[in-house]
């Protein structure tokens, strides 16, 4: 059976397993119909022209994990930011792991989606926000249909969450092939501030496909600082769709670090519903072998006096392929918009490639919009300069690549994350040098 048919057939069983009385029952039923009509995207869709899902859809995925798995903290500690105190919402094969998690209801709700969906006290938030900014494309609809577990974060107004929140999904390989549909809802009320780190990690060589959807609502003057660390093994693929709805004077920043995985697609969508909003999208991609990373961004400027900044750097070795498709949409009312977009790439492998396409659709006349993309090689004269000072080729290359992506790292506000990313880069590049630039 094709994966699509299998998913549709499993939906009834899934609905019976979870709570039919849930307020989202209708939403799910609508969504599965939507998926049935639209299915998975193909390369005939403009937005998927350079990314084919064929090779990852062919596996016979388990749609629900059969058994619960246990993992020892010490075996997976390295995937956590563990040198600082954090809240943790951890899932193993799609199931919440209470022993690895640290949640709270003390003034803020940092907990799990399944309980938010089933308990009446969360109903107002669920009714107001769940599936209100997510799109209705095939993949998002599929996630909506199966939405049951993920992170639920609600920060009431005037609260600055004292520690960062880590959302981590592990897959154990207990299933021959596993498909996951994590669903996160993050609601940050007026004047509140939250920092979130998200990671998906497969612990075996069995194929894993994660189709993740995150909805974020940043109310007036809220600050949301989100970090996506993508360093999974090369049998795991991730389709991440993140939708951010911002109100006036809010500030939302998403850093996406893509180093691992077989195929990674990041759909990152910002909607600016208010004035003086700031949206920042930063990405550093360093991949090799036959890895594929696709960034598909949208910033929709709806009201006047807002800003957006996009800065994506990519380094592609071996046969790796990259896609950057950055869309900036400026409504006629959105005067005095400042929108910047940059996408710079270095191709190291002869067989590596990148398709980069800025898309600016501007209907207002008094705006400042700029975009630039470059594709280059490593600077040979810089390489010789460094080597002539005793820095071996591999280390010189690593230093140049690190320096190239440093712009993206410099705005990371949590030092431990910066350190972690730096270590991942050093490991990825196979060098042992300090990058304390």
């Amino acid at each position: 059976m094709e994966l699509k048919e299998k998913l549709i057939a499993s939906f009834m069983a899934f609905e019976n397993l979870v709570d039919i009385d849930s307020p989202v029952h209708d939403v799910r039923s609508e969504a599965i119909k939507e998926f049935e009509t639209k299915g998975f995207p193909s390369r005939r869709d403009e937005a998927w022209k350079y990314t084919s899902l064929n090779s990852i859809l062919k596996h016979d995925y388990s749609v629900f994990p059969k058994s619960e798995s246990h993992i020892d903290y010490n075996d997976i500690k390295k995937y956590f930011i563990h040198d600082i105190d954090t809240y943790k919402i951890v899932f193993i094969d799609g199931k919440y792991s209470s022993h690895l998690s640290e949640t709270t209801h003390d003034g803020v709700d940092i907990c799990l989606m399944s309980s938010a969906l089933s308990k009446p006290k969360y109903r107002p938030i669920i009714e107001n926000y769940f599936n209100k900014v997510a799109a209705k494309d095939g993949l998002t609809s599929l996630n909506t249909a199966f939405s049951q577990e993920g992170a639920y974060i609600h920060i009431p107004k005037n609260k600055s969450v004292a520690k960062p929140i880590q959302i981590i999904h592990f897959s154990t390989g207990n299933e021959a092939a596993l498909m996951l549909q994590p669903r996160n809802l993050i609601v940050v009320d007026e004047n509140s501030h939250v920092q979130i780190v998200e990671r998906h990690q497969s612990l075996t060589e069995n194929p894993v496909l994660t189709n993740s959807v995150t909805e974020i609502f940043a109310d007036k003057r809220a600050i949301v600082d989100y970090y996506k660390i993508q360093n999974d093994n090369e049998n795991a693929s991730l389709i991440d769709s993140t939708f951010i709805n911002q109100k006036q004077e809010s500030c939302a920043t998403v850093h996406t670090f893509s180093f691992g995985g077989k195929l990674t697609r990041n759909n990152l969508n910002f909607y600016q519903n208010g004035e003086r909003i700031d949206s920042t999208l930063k990405g550093a991609t360093i991949i090799g072998n036959r890895q594929h990373v696709d960034h598909n961004t949208l910033v929709h400027h709806i009201e006047p006096n807002c800003e957006s900044h996009q800065d994506y750097k990519g380094i592609f070795d071996d046969h790796a392929t990259g896609v950057f498709n950055g869309k900036v949409l400026v409504n006629r009312e959105a005067q005095k918009t400042n929108a910047f977009q940059a996408n710079n790439n270095i191709l190291i492998g002869d067989k590596a490639s990148i398709n980069t396409k800025p898309q600016l659709e501007i209907f207002a006349d008094d705006v400042k919009c700029s975009h630039g993309c470059t594709i280059g090689q490593l600077d040979e004269s810089a390489m010789f300069y460094m080597r002539s000072r005793g820095i071996p080729e591999k280390e010189a290359k690593a230093l140049l690549m690190y320096a190239f992506s440093n712009n993206v790292l410099s705005s990371v506000k949590i030092p431990e994350i910066k350190q972690r990313i730096t270590n991942i880069i050093a490991k990825k590049l196979g060098v042992n040098i300090g990058f304390d630039l």
Binding site: R387, S388, P392
Partner: protein
Amino acid sequence: MLKIIDLHASVEDKAILKGINLEINAGEVHAIMGPNGSGKSTLASVIAGKEDYEVTQGDILFEDESINELAPEERAHKGVFLSFQYPTEIPGVSVTNFMKTAINETRKARKLGDMPANEMLKMIREKSEMLEIDRKFLSRSLNEGFSGGEKKRNEIFQLAMLEPKLAILDETDSGLDIDALRIVASGVNKIKSKDNAVIIITHYQRLLDYIIPDFVHVMFEGRIVKSGGKELALELEEKGYDWIREEVNA
């Protein structure tokens, strides 16, 4: 220390060095002069191991071993240092971190452990003071936005930090103001010893007033066509290259 034997090198099949012979012993200072385009920087790059140039004939011996086949970093680890005529800008890598990496990689190649951080800082402080380099520079991206003179001074700072056996200074004097020239020259003089050697590539006498050469060579169309003592530099400064050209053509 360095022995160059009948060295021919070309780039993209164009012959640039056409039979260079040169011998340099520890403790000596050699100046190489010659008109623009005669191949001075090419010679320096070939000694340092730049892969764009193909050695088509001859050999380069460093401490009696051929280094022709060695990578640039391996030559550096043996003690070869080139101060670039046009130092490359490296955005995003600070002077300090670059220096740390260069020193520790060199130590690694010599089977030594990393230099302790406090020792490194002390050395950086001493050498930057010697060259009157502002501390601010050390945290800036290497050569990025440096003025011409600042770049050259930074090259000599790196020379002082790396303490090579053979230092090749390619037009280090160009771009330096009078005070900077004096500071840089006195820095080089402090580093100079009976165990190391210096090659100074220059167009002018003024640097040679401070760093006095034992030998002066004139390069012309890819060959060393004349060698002499320090007075040869003065003669060139006075008379230009026409008489050399005539001698060669005669």
